[in-house]
Symmetry: C2
Amino acid sequence: MAKYTGFLIDLDGTVYNGTEKIEAAVEFVSKLNEKGYPYLFLTNNSSKTPKAVADKLTAMGIVAKEEHVFTSSMATAAYVAEQKPDARVYAIGEDGLTSALAEAGLTLTDQNIEYVVMGLDRQLSYEKLAIGALAIRNGAKFIATNADVALPSERGFLPGSGSLISVLAVTTGVTPTYIGKPEAIIVDQAMEQLGSEKANTLMVGDNYQTDILAGIRAGIDSLLVLSGVTKETELEQVGEKPTFMIKSLSEWSIE
Amino acid sequence: MAKYTGFLIDLDGTVYNGTEKIEAAVEFVSKLNEKGYPYLFLTNNSSKTPKAVADKLTAMGIVAKEEHVFTSSMATAAYVAEQKPDARVYAIGEDGLTSALAEAGLTLTDQNIEYVVMGLDRQLSYEKLAIGALAIRNGAKFIATNADVALPSERGFLPGSGSLISVLAVTTGVTPTYIGKPEAIIVDQAMEQLGSEKANTLMVGDNYQTDILAGIRAGIDSLLVLSGVTKETELEQVGEKPTFMIKSLSEWSIE
């Protein structure tokens, strides 16, 4: 499949399952490196910095530097900076979000807010929500890193960004612009970062509802790998199929 | 209108507007006292104790003791205690909620949770939401004091209970049982507390969408007073009209 010269690769369910690496993915990434094909790990995780993600991958033996990681927070920061380079942003989120916004040259503030940007925030407070709600009612644009409603943990499914973000959406009546998968925005931003053209970029992931739909919406080819959440039988129900479907990344040949 | 011998009276917009009392309401309540008609102030406010509400009313010259106040938290506590007298309840809310639950004989706990009860909580934290979400996913019943999405304040409209509650609803996919107006439950619980029959009870309020709908749903007569949010012209759009509509409570004669 020499057609593809740029790869966007999902993490959980594709490269690892929780804390366990998927061997076929390690080899897949290693081959991309041998051949010199550029790739980005594309994650809806908004709370981690790219360095924290790269460190986890490196510890699993996967070739990953900071510049191989593209989070929903980074896509959000790039999106806002494109709209207004010096925007005044009120951020409700963790380190991964605030550092991405600052690195994109945006001004983090709680005064004269032009954008309210929200992601997962495990230090959430009523006051943060109050500031965000007042700003949105006052005309600030409302941007959300990702819509995932649940966050897997060893305790079970905890509230995800999408559920926290619903507070501001419900109280103001304003639906945010979502950036993460399955939206096209994160894929468009990643391709720009990668310097890759639509026709030559492949979206690789295990989740039809996020990874594959994001690829479809962005107008690029997609590869569903059955190592995670989506089962083969579920595909019978969906409208648009992934371009390719395989059981394991070991089936995919990189020339 | 000697037919009515029990009165359920809304507060904000009916008895006062913000911090300003409505003179006609003060006289109305005073006449109820003269004639010896029982009444309850019915409020969706879940955060205040009945004492705090009565103190505010007393300071305005309105005859109000603790036993004249019925909050959405008290209705919620009564509702849960009716379902299971010794229920193990995890409460996300303020003083008005936790004290009502404790006074109803329920056990407040974060272990082996049978009911997750949520209202306005300005000390909200991610950990509280996590405990609530895990319990609901584990089969605990999910009860919400009221669905109001916005909370008026001198800063503007802040997030109301309904918007905070949406975190748990969205992350678990479980819709809570709402207790406050416009639900019938709070009206049913208030009539029980008042010892008043449906045929002889009048719901008095300024808000069609909460007060009057609650009366209609509970199957009692209702009196809309145009001293607050609902305007006369809005009534042309609604299906079921209030039983009575007046400009000021001074127009209502108590015999």
